[in-house]
């Protein structure tokens, strides 16, 4: 947590604290009817945050609903765009034994959801010097020997808000298939929900990150054209153009930006702009 965030932290030790309950907090046993005089455009629906009932305008995400209810989120929120993995959330609905998972910033609230955020779950990340690692499967086995505690219960897969076949990815690692593990876990955002559900106490997402690092650095062939491009940049191929750009007035810059040619969706590998002066 950064120093800036620490300052904003409420005085209470609790991570989540209802500062001023903007929503109607009602005791569970007495379900108060929605008061007519409130005149809120959106329909209010009941949800339960950590067991406490709130009435929330429908259509909000879980994260917005928590904030509407008065929570100040200093952890468990990050990009608010479904990619940072900070807002892993579990919920259940009455009459369904199944535990559901979601990212709080992505999932819209539904009536009677019982919600708890799991913004962080303890999981040890192995320390390694990446420069010394090879693509041998044994490297991962040594760093994460608990890999072999998997009993194939598949709870991890059910807990993944990204829809990753988490258990299959663990199986791929056990089979020494680092490429398979890297590709299967490509959408992992490290929210840690898999780890929170693991019978064998594995830290899946750390293992997958290592697999993707090894895959990217040791298995995927180097892109040769990239080296050529870097060389051209270093040799000053674009210096003159950048200097020109720096001298352009703001209005002209805006016009150039607005009139720029955009690569069409689904353009092929050999697509080129009409003006090839700067290629």
């Amino acid at each position: 947590m950064s120093a800036k965030q620490t300052k904003r932290k409420p005085a209470t030790a609790a991570r989540h604290r209802a500062r001023k309950p903007a929503a109607t907090a009602v005791k569970e046993e007495k379900k108060a009817p929605v008061r007519e005089e409130k005149k809120i455009a959106a329909k209010l629906i009941p949800i339960y945050i950590m067991g406490k009932r709130y009435e929330i305008p429908e259509g909000l995400t879980i994260m917005k609903a928590m904030e509407y209810a008065g929570y100040i989120l200093i952890r468990g929120c990050g990009c608010r765009g479904g990619t940072c993995g900070a807002c892993g959330t579990v919920y259940r609905k009455p009459g369904d034994y199944k535990l559901q998972v979601a990212l709080a910033c992505q999932k819209t609230v539904e009536p009677d959801m019982y919600i708890a955020q799991i913004p962080f779950f303890p999981a040890n990340r192995a320390a390694y010097e990446f420069a010394g690692l090879t693509a041998a499967p044994e490297e991962i086995f040594k760093l994460y020997p608990e890999l072999f505690r998997c009993v194939a219960c598949n709870s991890c897969t059910k807990a993944c808000p990204q829809g990753i076949e988490v258990m299959d990815t663990i199986s791929a690692l056990k089979q020494g298939n680092i490429t398979g593990a890297a590709q299967l876990s490509f959408d992992c955002i490290q929210c840690g929900l898999c780890t929170s559900r693991c019978f064998g106490e594995l830290a899946q997402y750390h293992m997958f990150q290592l697999a993707r690092r090894i895959y990217g650095a040791r298995i995927v062939p180097r892109a040769e054209h990239l080296a050529g491009m870097v060389k051209a940049v270093n040799e000053g191929k674009y210096d003159r153009m950048l200097d020109q750009l720096k001298r352009i007035k703001e209005d002209e810059l805006k016009r150039l930006y607005q009139e720029r040619e955009v690569e069409p969706m689904g353009a092929g590998e050999d697509w080129k702009p009409k003006d090839t002066t700067y290629l």
Partner: protein, 302 residues
């Protein structure tokens, strides 16, 4: 002909020298070992605790997925995988209560009650290919090779999952005969290698090894033929310790049965990955002129 095939984790890492010659040999015999697309660990050891159902989940999930893929028969190659999968399969066939509990926990949207038949590659060679056909396909008979077939435990015990008679098995002997080798029978061929004792009591392993290898040697064997990666690990480790302690002990090369099959079919040493063998058999095989590839090995009818 294509066969649904379950390799097992060890065959993909430490024991590629068991798998790769098998896949190549089966292709030469006209069979494709078609790896099932989604598989997890077999469970490694069959759990004997009556109420420990969580450790049945791994083998059963594999079988459920094989059934889902529309297959009715699953070929295994690792002796431990065969044992674990076959016993879990038997449990799903015979125990209705446990079957229901496991099915409901596994949650794959498909109930399983033991429909998939689990077999070992040796059974496929015996029952689907046939010793005569193999013998006919041999390009490089292992004529001068005196090898002791070693079964270990998990291919033959318990009796209800055994691929052959648990008391007097002949399947490996028949296999070696078909390759033109001279199988050496010895009384320790079904004795345990120490198995997972290597984890809790590693110092006991050399004595298991000594009993097996001394017996094979005394009966005239030049090498031991294996089917199981754990036997390979223990017998190699045991030999190393024995050599360190006792100068009188003679090392014995350890060879997987699939490596001998590939050599006999003329596929050459490159598919055998001898560099992964713990008890290196290469000098013996070179001495017998068995390391040369034979040209023009074609599948049956190909």
């Amino acid at each position: 002909m294509s066969l649904a095939y379950y390799p097992g984790c060890t065959l993909k890492t430490k024991a590629r020298n068991l798998e790769e010659p098998a896949v190549a040999s089966m292709e030469a015999l006209g069979f494709k070992l078609d790896e099932v697309p989604r598989w997890n660990c077999c469970g490694a050891v069959y759990s004997l605790a009556d109420d420990d159902l969580i450790h049945q989940v791994a083998p059963v999930r594999n079988l459920v997925r094989v059934k889902k893929a529309g297959e009715t028969k699953l070929v295994t190659l690792c002796a431990f995988c065969l044992n674990t999968l076959k016993r879990a399969n038997l449990l799903m066939k015979q125990d209705v209560d446990k079957r229901n509990t496991i099915n409901s926990f596994i949650d794959e949207g498909l109930d399983y009650s033991g429909e998939v038949e689990v077999v070992h590659l040796l059974e496929v060679l015996r029952d689907d290919v046939g010793w005569d056909v193999i013998s006919h396909m041999v390009k490089l008979p292992l004529r001068e090779l005196r090898v002791a077939p070693y079964y270990g435990c998990t291919l033959l015990r318990p009796r209800e999952v055994a691929i052959d008679s648990a008391e007097d098995p002949t399947i490996l002997r028949d296999f070696l005969k078909a390759l033109g080798a001279r199988p050496i029978d010895f009384p320790e061929s079904t004795r345990c290698c120490g198995s997972y004792e290597v984890i809790s009591n590693p110092d006991d392993i050399p004595e298991y090894t000594r009993a097996i290898l001394d017996s094979a040697l005394n009966h005239g064997a030049e090498a031991l033929v294996l089917t199981c990666p754990l036997c390979d690990y223990n017998l190699a480790r045991g030999q190393k310790e024995l050599v360190k302690k006792n100068s009188g002990f003679r090392r014995m090369p350890l060879i997987y049965f699939t490596q001998l099959l590939a050599l006999a079919l003329g596929l050459g040493p490159q598919v055998c990955h001898f560099e992964l063998n713990h008890g290196s058999p290469e000098s013996l095989l070179r001495e017998k002129n068995l390391l040369s590839a034979v040209e023009n090995v074609r599948p049956i009818g190909g």
